[in-house]
Amino acid sequence: MHSFWAVFKRELKSYFTTPLAYVFLVIFLFFSGYLAFKQGFFEARQADMRAFFMNLPLLYVFMVPSTAMRLWAEERKTGSIELLLTLPITVTLAVLGKFFAAWIFLAIALALTFPMVITVCYLGQPDVGLIITGYLGSFLMAGGFLAIGCFFSTVSKNQVIAFVLSVVAAALLVFAGMPTTLDYLSTFLPAGLVSAIEAMSFRQHFESIQKGVLEFKDLAYFLLLIVGWIAASTIVLDERKAA
């Protein structure tokens, strides 16, 4: 387990010793705030963070793959994967170490949106429980996108390809749940299939958690998503590490 912590610590530190973290954080914080205020935060005349959380799925579609793309693609390209995987560590622990480091980094990015919380608390009396579940949902969603990005990062040595593939996969999962898509699909697919597709999308589960309803099926969705894509990453990495 100590090797897991070693990888985790190293990876998290490396985000902050290069400009990577700072560029990402500035862009993420700027856009999350900008989109929230632009999309009618004041017009809604309600002291809640709905306008803020509403935009996160779309923002994550582009921002999380940019964090995930370098997880393994860079290691394979520079050859440092040979160093990492000849230390006394299993492939699974190495994948998990890097994944959690990236996830904690995204949690830090979320935590740095606290001015938004302060603003809402100052302007009115928001339901704090909703804010907490909103952040929880965002954190889980970030983990989901990250797991997808991690997988595509193991698939390609080229970071750009990894990025593009992750964005497409993430976008598919987000847009599959959009009302317009579902309406279109229901014109030629049976209702059962349409609701199955809706259940596979991020939106439904994220919206539900954001509304303050913590249901097992939503938590399980994110957990299964993460476990599934991470397991797939481990398998692919094991096969391709020397290639």
Partner: protein, 238 residues
């Protein structure tokens, strides 16, 4: 300490290693000699449990590479070709990471660093970023991370490749110093290195062991320089 039995590995249609077998004991330095593409790196990677063999097996320090890869990696120090490292870390940070991963903490870590840093002559670059190091220093850092936990077995892939003559001498001196109580495998195509450092030689070509002998015996048998012996043996196959 190292026993290799019929290791075989292909990459698609290319057979990289085609049934090699040998054994190395403590106190021996084995030189894996062969042309480029012979399968030396693949064989070493299998011993270091980086890739799995298609068939065959090996045991390192009593641990089977298929059953107990993590224990094997715990007992060996491995220096990969091109000595990879994390470019954005400093030398000190990197060595501390390796200590973290190899569970060398507290007083033991301080002692290990105090021993290794002068041994590999990297004191002057201890606080420098790895990206900015020259090839020689990167190689020495690679050696340092392979030696820091004082392993019983060392697997070094072309340890002096690209170093200047002084640095080559330093590395060979280091290997000779450690040869007495470790089991070392060195891959190289520098023939004078084989004479300087190795107590045994295996010549590999196209994934097969052609010769398993010592440098002296080979010279006696063929009555010419190692250069020509190498050419004779490896050319025979093509």
């Amino acid at each position: 300490m190292i026993e290799v039995k019929e290791l075989r590995r292909s990459f698609g249609p290319v057979v990289a290693v085609d049934g090699i077998s040998f054994a190395v004991e403590k106190g021996q330095v084995l030189g894996l000699l062969g042309p480029n593409g012979a399968g030396k790196t693949t064989a070493m990677r299998m011993l270091a449990c980086f890739i799995r063999p298609d068939s065959g097996t090996a045991s390192v320090a009593g641990f089977d590479i298929l059953q107990k890869p993590v224990e094997v990696r715990r007992c060996i120090g491995y220096l990969a070709e091109n000595s990879p490292a994390y470019g954005e870390m400093t030398v000190g940070g990197f060595l501390n990471f390796v200590c973290d991963a190899r569970r060398i903490n507290g007083g033991r870590r301080k002692a290990a660093l105090d021993r290794i840093v002068p041994m590999c002559s990297i004191e002057s670059v201890y606080h420098q970023t790895i990206d900015t190091l020259s090839k020689g220093y990167k190689r020495r850092l690679g050696l340092a991370q392979a030696l820091i936990h004082d392993p019983q077995v060392l697997i070094l892939d072309e340890p002096t490749d690209g170093l200047d003559p002084n640095q080559k001498h330093e590395v060979r001196r280091l290997i000779n110093k450690m040869a007495k109580d470790k089991c070392i495998i060195v891959s190289t195509h520098i023939l004078e290195e084989v004479e300087a450092v190795c107590s045994r030689t295996i010549i590999i070509s196209q994934g097969r062991v052609l010769v398993d002998s010592t440098p002296e015996k080979l010279k006696q048998e063929y009555q010419c320089s190692l250069d020509e012996i190498f050419r004779k043996i490896t050319r025979k196959r093509t």
